[in-house]
């Protein structure tokens, strides 16, 4: 299930993202264009294009965008919580400060530890300790386990007394120009940090990803100079389906600026581009240096639907999210599951890949989210190190309840059977709805029909997704289709089988969408 090995090529030109233009484009210009675009109305009638980076089973194959992990093999809670870490964190000090972090809302530094590993160090806002660092760590672990490329993030203690300025350290000046990072500028950055009397403070250490930074990625189009980037990004299932993860985790800041394309050299001046997601300090209940505001995640920052709804209803329309309240924990912020509805979730800025998502993209993401068992999530949340009594339990509870909601939303229009496998003539699948506790035993009864072309070979009912087809395939057709649906009705799933002498082999899968 692998894409072809990437074509090696010279380093593409670097690009720079512009947040203001991106905001104007997606908040105002594109919405205006979409109002007059027939594609918008065609999409509303169900004519959205399906994703292009999928295989015969609707799965995203491994590439420089995505590496199937928890959806591919069983992972233990400890494996997931360790999440791609190759270190245990930075070494002890002294640390060389190479620069100040000027992008984003949270203060930070770029430093190098004794082993020469470079980290981006981010601090929590003093009024809301653990808020953004925990959000970033939890989201990183989950998205890594799902299959996305994310930085290695470590929670640890930063001893400010270990910081030593490099003579070549730079930071952003008052007007964005690069200026030397001197002691006074370093002090200005650290003025937003609230260390203990011994100079220590909790921090998130984000390992700088290997390779040459090309600039932010994009949720639309392709990168110039990358011959492997053939599929417009808004047609990638891995990016489209990211919306469901973002909704689950309430990661509202899914702008181009929070992606990163890195050139990985392989030698001889050639290499390939690797695509990362980063900056999850706006996930869960956090929004960088503060908790989310009420409404964040429920409406775009400039939401034309809401504005025109208010205008045309003469104020009689009240948004559904008004009852949202802040969690009773400073380290959690605004994160809840009562009011949350996946279909109504909105990032701060409209995202072209999210907007292009179909039910199958959503199902794909749900099929991965379903693998995050309560035990796995508990292990991840434990890594976040919440010190407020009850905060970790509260957050876990909300994560689990939101998970159920996103799974219901993802599985509602399809038959959520997955992981087809065959031993001999016995085909088994995983009933994701049943495993996630969305349905009970009675509702899980399946009716099936085995067909060879137009001819029905056999049919029956099964208490679960296990089908013994030996007798039905007595005539040994070359191919057969196993059509499955719930006994109570609903959309069907067609599993295409290659019939061999000693068994069957699943070769493809189709899902009806209700």
């Amino acid at each position: 299930m692998r894409a072809p090995e990437p074509e090696l090529h010279p380093e593409p030109p670097r690009s720079r993202g512009w947040a203001w233009w991106e905001a104007l484009l997606y908040a105002a210009i594109r919405p205006l264009g979409e109002v007059i675009s027939p594609a918008t109305y065609a999409d509303a009638l169900g004519a959205k294009e399906e994703a292009l980076d999928v295989n015969a089973f609707g799965q995203v194959y491994a590439s420089s965008w995505f590496t199937p992990r928890i959806g591919r093999w069983v992972m233990t809670p400890d494996e997931v919580a360790a999440g791609g870490d190759t270190l245990t964190g930075p070494t002890t000090g002294p640390w060389i400060v190479l620069g100040g972090k000027v992008e984003g809302a949270t203060p930070g530094l770029i430093m190098q530890d004794l082993d020469g590993v470079t980290f981006l160090v981010k601090f929590d806002p003093p009024a809301f300790p653990e808020l953004s660092s925990a959000a970033e760590l939890i989201s990183t672990k989950i998205l890594w386990a799902a299959g996305y490329n994310v930085p290695e993030n470590y929670l640890g203690i930063c001893n400010l007394r270990w910081l030593q300025l490099s003579p070549r350290a730079t930071t952003g000046g008052e007007y964005g120009e690069e200026v030397p990072l001197n002691k006074s500028r370093l002090a200005a950055i650290l003025a937003h940090v609230n260390p203990l009397p011994d100079g220590t403070v909790r921090a998130l250490f984000s390992r700088i990803v290997p390779g040459t930074v090309l600039g932010p990625g994009s949720y639309r189009g392709v990168r110039a100079g990358d011959p492997n980037d053939k599929i417009p990004h808004q047609h990638r299932r891995s990016l489209r389906g990211l919306w469901l993860f973002s909704a689950w985790l309430n990661n509202t800041d899914t702008r181009d600026a929070n992606t990163l394309d890195v050139f990985v050299p392989t030698g001889g001046g050639l290499g390939y581009v690797q695509h990362y997601l980063l900056d999850f300090g706006d996930a869960l209940g956090a929004a960088g240096v503060r908790p989310k505001y009420i409404g964040e995640g429920y409406v775009h920052r400039v939401d034309w639907d809401a504005i025109f709804g208010q205008l045309l209803s003469l104020g009689l329309y009240y948004p559904y999210w008004l009852p949202v309240r802040r969690a009773p924990f400073r380290s959690v912020g605004v994160f809840e599951a009562e009011v949350f509805e996946p279909s109504s979730w909105r990032p701060n800025l409209p995202n072209p890949a999210f907007d292009a998502a179909t039910e199958l993209d959503t199902y794909w993401a749900g099929s991965i989210i379903a693998r995050f068992t309560p035990e796995i999530l508990r292990a991840i949340v434990a890594r976040a190190g919440y010190s407020e009594p009850g905060a970790a339990d509260y957050l876990l509870e909300v994560l689990l309840r939101r998970r159920l909601k996103v799974l219901r939303h993802a599985f509602e229009p399809v038959l959520a059977l997955d992981d087809p496998s065959a031993r001999g003539f016995t085909v088994t699948m995983t009933d994701l709805e049943h495993e996630a506790g969305l349905i009970d035993g009675a509702a899980a009864v399946l009716s099936w029909s085995l067909r060879a072309g137009d001819r029905e070979l056999a049919s029956g009912q099964a208490a679960g997704p296990r089908f013994d087809l030996q007798q039905a395939l007595g005539a040994r057709p070359s191919f057969a289709d196993l059509v499955i649906r719930r006994a109570r009705g609903g959309p069907a799933l067609v599993l295409h089988l290659r019939v061999l002498e000693d068994g069957v082999l699943p070769v493809g899968l189709e899902r009806e969408v209700d």
């Binding site: 233009w21 007007y175 920052r301 087809p420």
Partner: protein, 431 residues
Amino acid sequence: MRAAIVIALLGVAHTPAASAATERVQTSTAWTREVREAEPSGIDPVRRVLELPADVVEVAFSPLSPLVVALERWKLHDRLFDLLTNEELTLAIVPLVDVFSSSGPGAGAALIQNAPLGSADRLVVLALARTNRDVNASLSLNRRLPRLNGREYSVGLSYGLDHDLEYYGLGGDSSASVVRLLEVESIDLRASLLLLRPDLDWNIRPEVAFRSRRLASGTGELPAFRPGESLEAPSGFGKNLEYPELTVRIYYDSRDSFGRTTSGAVAYVEGSASNDLNGAQTGALRTTGSVSVFLPLLPLNRVLFLSAGLSLATPLGDAGAPLHQLVQLGGSTTLRGYESGRFIDRLGWWSTVEYRWHLYEYADSGSGLSAVLFADFGQVGPNPEAMFQSTFHWSAGVSLRAETDLFLLGRLQLAYSPDGFRISLGIGEVL
């Protein structure tokens, strides 16, 4: 039931015996090993055609991109802000541009000293000039007196030269087709003091002023006013008038917010007296009363605003009341579908009904937009009988208010009246 089908039957490869890791994969799933020869480019020509209008809009706005990028890259907004303000942010120069005036576009600047920032202690020096040579300049100083428990005094000096003030004559039945232009040059010097503590809902503000007026024939696209023609000349036309003026205003203000008011009331009674010193026999006693009420209809800033007022100017000289003392309806606060000063006479009443509702708030900033539906009514006349017996005037429209919790940033209004449509932009303190 819609059917969306994923079909991709590719070549099948029987999975070989594998390593332990692969075996683990094979026993839990039965994925085929597939290798695509090349990823598709994904260009669907039909789709591209359907998306074309959106792309055209994006291209149309693309010339804005270099400007927006430059603003962000070079922090032009920060540089401009730092250029126009001092480090303590107690001094600011604010460029002014007015493109909505019927006199033509104008530009100018205001110097604002506000120390400490956000306080009522403020100095504002403003100058604005228009392409038709109209000029407005003013200086106003507000200060609180700590020794008098924060009572506020205010002094101001302003100069205005308006070449094309539209004059429709006196009376409530003036016709829009008989408009003439006046030139008005005005100088006002005033000083006032709040008598009671500023934290009270009630207060009294006496004001002394010295006003100079010169009324002459105007210049512009419309006909200039000539005495003896169809319209009655305003009192003091053609003369240099100088009026000392004394005004006392008693007011009540219980609004819960100056920006996004949801409840409370504002009421005032005002009496003023002015008389020309140059023998033009023009002066007046003017009495005005107004009540405005804010009624919350529904939660979260859905408000009914009701306002009514009455004013009477009693001439003190044989030449009648001066133009600036007469009741004038039309403009950006009364009968908004009519031009400013559309109806002028000694006596007048006005009322407004507005329904305001929340439209948009940026994050939890407290700043946002409200929409307004409004209807204005009013009439003027030389005496009560004439005024109340004649049909009143009306206008209606919609407005967009940019507000914070603390103050109104501005209003954009579109109003209709039998005279036609009128767009106006209002900045500053209105209810």
